[in-house]
């Protein structure tokens, strides 16, 4: 037994008042490497032991601020620099919308880091090899008693003096705590075959599971159902419709919205005879006709209908709209030309609606009258 290395001498107390007194006396006697063990934090013990205030707050501050900075960098790099998107018409850097996530990341990083710092840096935990474990002293302080432990590596430690000192402050059950030989002599062996084998097995399991999940599982039922959907895809063969195409032909006699079937297809004479201009030639309709004429007709017919094209020879010039032939045409005959085109002029039925067509005809009549006025116009 005498070969065992002494860790500390301990004494137990029964009430919180006693332990506070004992702690302050121990500190006053000049011991620095001593500790008080209590089942719960006892108020006033830090002063009695003359402990400096905890420095844990600094760790929180540093890690919390790092979290804030990391969060704002993450957000700015992703949403302002790498892939800027306009969201809700706001600027790319819209700080108010970033604050919630900055706050959450700050709290998260500060909380985790403070606790990890406390456990690993301040406490040097996990440490189940400490000599105090499994002693009667530990069992007592972990349940209902209060203990003082003076360590053997203290500068003024000597076994007899400490025993007397503990007696003098009224400690009960004074006992030494020794290092455990087995714990001290235990050596970690990183190259142990079992350890390496375990690591290897772990690596295979992790990589195998990941490979399976990403490359196989996602292509199995029902995980692949986003790719296989029962819907008709245009331009592909249909298994559902008899004719084998997915695109459907409208029902016969279906017409597009805002269109009327044109009765006088390939029948200019019919159009000239039967179509009547329903749009009165008032100021409003002439304005409309002028506007549409200038947009759709004037590139070739020019603004006055003389046929002086602005296309500078890239397209044949049309004949003048002021010829006797055209002046003699009925409104319906001109309407037919707008609907079906003539010679190289294409149909304008899809660009100009019915009212606009008649309004343009009214405007063309006005243009014709402007160059070939009747006597009565002068009055």
């Amino acid at each position: 037994m005498s070969e065992r290395i002494l860790y500390s001498y301990t004494g137990l107390f029964d009430t919180p008042d006693e332990i506070i007194g004992a702690a302050s006396k121990t500190a006053e006697a000049g011991y620095t490497k001593f500790d008080v063990n209590t089942p719960y934090p006892v108020h006033g013990m830090d002063d009695a032991m003359k402990l400096p205030p905890s420095k844990l707050g600094y760790a929180s501050l540093v890690f919390g601020l790092s979290g804030t900075i990391a969060a704002i960098l993450l957000i700015v790099i992703t949403t302002v620099v790498d892939y800027p998107n306009i969201i809700g018409g706001k600027p790319f850097f819209s700080l108010p919308a970033f604050i919630p996530i900055m706050f959450e990341i700050t709290v998260l990083s500060a909380s985790i880091a403070t606790v990890v710092t406390m456990i690993i840096v301040f406490f040097k935990f996990p440490n189940n090899a400490h000599p105090m474990h499994d002693t009667d002293y530990m069992k007592a302080v972990s349940s209902s008693r209060y203990g003082v432990s003076i360590q053997a590596d203290d500068k003024i430690f000597s076994e007899d003096q400490v025993k007397d000192f503990l007696n003098s402050i009224g400690a009960k059950d004074i006992s030494p705590i020794y290092y455990d030989d087995e714990e001290i002599n235990f050596k970690h062996n990183v190259l142990d075959l079992k350890f390496i084998g375990g690591l290897f097995l772990l690596a295979i399991i992790v990589s195998g599971t990941t490979y399976f999940a990403l490359n196989k599982l996602m292509y199995m039922t029902p995980f692949n159902w986003m790719m296989e959907q029962d819907k008709a895809i245009v331009q592909s063969t249909s298994n559902f419709f008899e004719d084998g195409t997915n695109m459907r032909v409208p029902v016969e006699a279906t017409i597009a919205r805002n269109t009327k079937p044109y009765k006088f297809k390939n029948d200019p004479e019919g159009a000239a005879k039967f179509l009547v201009n329903p749009v009165p030639g008032n100021e409003k309709n002439l304005e409309l006709g002028k506007k549409k004429f200038n947009i759709y007709c004037s590139p070739c017919h020019d603004n006055y209908g003389k046929g002086e094209s602005r296309l500078r020879g890239q397209f044949p010039n049309p004949p003048s709209l002021h010829s006797q032939k055209l002046r003699d045409w009925s409104d319906g005959r001109i309407y037919h030309v707008i609907m079906e085109g003539q010679n190289v002029m294409p149909s304008y039925s899809s660009q100009i609606n019915e009212t606009e067509r008649w309004a343009i005809i009214n405007y063309v009549r006005a243009l014709q009258r402007s160059l070939n006025a009747k006597e009565s116009d002068l009055q």
Binding site: D17, V36, S54, T78, T79, A110, M118
Partner: protein, 455 residues
């Protein structure tokens, strides 16, 4: 106990038990074999859980068309349940962090259990946004990581704030809980005679030695964590309310939502904690640790938050009228008198009227009465989320796109399953970990602190 002198501060633990008695009582459920009642309880909760699992299986095999969610009401039960469970989780952090900062000693007896409930409630809540996306195995896209699409998540969206808020809340609550458990693991390690338990407790106690040099930092970390958790708990339900308030839908687009949601969360969370504690203190003989005084204080908090919620209901109506926005006015009239009027009036009678009974001291201190009221509160708070989510969506600006939402059997199956999961975890918790913090309760027993000093 009918005459209580409120001018005197009573000890929060009745009968000044010895320290070793406290740990004996708290650890006992861990050492005795589960009895018949436990097996009966867990078979019920496991059946509920199984119903939920089957409903989820059906949902994923056939698709989310199995639910009642339809075109105007895209947020049906999943979001209602999510908000409900996140709200339940709020009491735990409030008790463990905010009441700690206010130095309310009575919290010590119930903090551990309430924190456990927080963790389980947030776990339960987390299921719902995942299943609501329809393909929960693709949930990784919610986190900003460099992916093959070269796309990032939208950091200005409240839905993403939610991802961060809820995951942070879960992590911090879990750390808080574990830090509180470390000294208790050490106590159990030194007390147990079972070799396997000794190994488990030793590992989780990390080698804690009850050293005062450690207690000093430990108390500091507890203070820091409480300081972080307090704004965090307020932020979580604020952000959940942003999911609604940041949209432009009438009935959602209101600035009262964050405080209103936080009050509602605390309200429902306390009701749930009170309900479960009533069973725990009876079954585990902890009536002197979780005292009637503690329950009464919780009832008072419920009454306060209930009135806050009632004020919010009234203020929503007032602002709808005062603001003069027609769509908003219609939304609120529609809530109270439209097709969902039944849900609205269940909500009002449960949340606003029933807690008013707590004005009577007799009701505050009678176990069956307070239990019934707390059950009503939870029913009412579930309906509150239902009313908010469904009424606004079902009738928005365009009458041509109005609709009516009715949940399906699968929806109810998932709701039952969520309760099953929550209570199964709670039951397992009571048998595996100390449901009351040993070290914290020891610290507030009569005579546990030195008589001298300036504290």
């Amino acid at each position: 106990m009918s005459s209580v002198d409120y001018t005197k501060e009573y000890s929060v633990v009745e009968g000044s038990p010895r320290l070793s008695e406290i740990e004996d009582i708290i650890i006992r459920p861990l050492n005795v074999k589960p009895d018949k009642k436990f097996y009966m309880a867990i078979s019920v909760t496991l059946t509920m859980l199984l119903i939920g699992v089957i409903s989820l299986g059906v949902s994923f095999y056939y698709g989310t068309g199995m639910w009642g969610n339809n075109n105007p009401v895209g947020w049906g039960f999943p979001i209602v349940n999510f908000v409900f469970w996140v709200g339940i989780g709020h009491a735990g952090t409030l008790i463990s962090a905010i009441l700690f900062l206010f130095r309310q000693k009575w919290r010590n007896g119930i903090a551990r259990f309430a924190e456990g409930m927080t963790i389980f409630a947030v776990m339960t809540a987390g299921i719902f946004p995942l299943i609501h996306v329809g393909r929960p195995w693709l949930a990784g896209y919610l986190f900003p990581y460099p992916n093959q699409h070269s796309l990032w998540v939208n950091f200005t969206s409240p839905l993403l704030w939610d991802v961060f808020a809820v995951s942070t809340y879960f992590t911090v609550s879990f750390i808080f809980w574990y830090v509180g458990l470390i000294p208790d693991f050490a106590t159990m390690r030194d007390k147990t005679t079972n070799a396997l338990k000794k190994v488990i407790y030793s590992v989780f106690s990390l080698g804690w030695r009850h050293s005062n040099r450690h207690w000093q930092n430990y108390e500091m970390v507890y203070l820091i964590l409480a300081g972080f958790a307090t704004p965090l708990v307020l932020s979580v339900h604020t952000i959940v309310s942003f999911d609604f308030a940041v949209s432009v839908l009438p009935g959602w687009h209101t600035t009262i939502f964050p405080p209103y949601f936080v009050a509602g969360a605390v309200f429902s969370g306390f009701a749930m904690v009170q309900n479960v504690l009533i069973f725990i203190r009876k079954i585990f003989d902890m009536e002197h640790i979780i005292t009637l005084d503690t329950l009464e204080k919780m009832n008072k908090i419920m009454m306060l938050t209930g009135m806050l919620v009632g004020y919010a209901y009234a203020m929503e109506f007032f602002i709808a009228w005062y603001g003069g926005v027609e769509a908003e006015q219609f939304a609120f009239v529609n809530r109270a008198f439209g097709p969902y009027a039944w849900a609205y009036w269940i909500m009002v009678s449960c949340n606003v009227l029933s807690p008013q009974l707590f004005w009577f001291k007799k009701v505050r201190r009678t176990i069956p009465a307070m239990f019934a009221i707390a059950v009503f509160i939870n029913v009412g708070m579930w309906f509150e989320r239902f009313v908010i989510t469904v009424t606004s969506l079902s009738r928005d600006f365009l009458p041509s796109s109005w609709g009516y939402y009715s949940p399906t059997l699968v929806d109810f199956g998932i709701l039952i399953g969520s309760f099953g999961m929550f209570f199964t975890l709670l039951l397992l918790f009571t048998k595996t970990l100390p449901v009351v913090s040993i070290a914290e309760v020891k610290a507030v027993v009569d005579g546990a602190q030195p008589t001298h000093g300036d504290h």
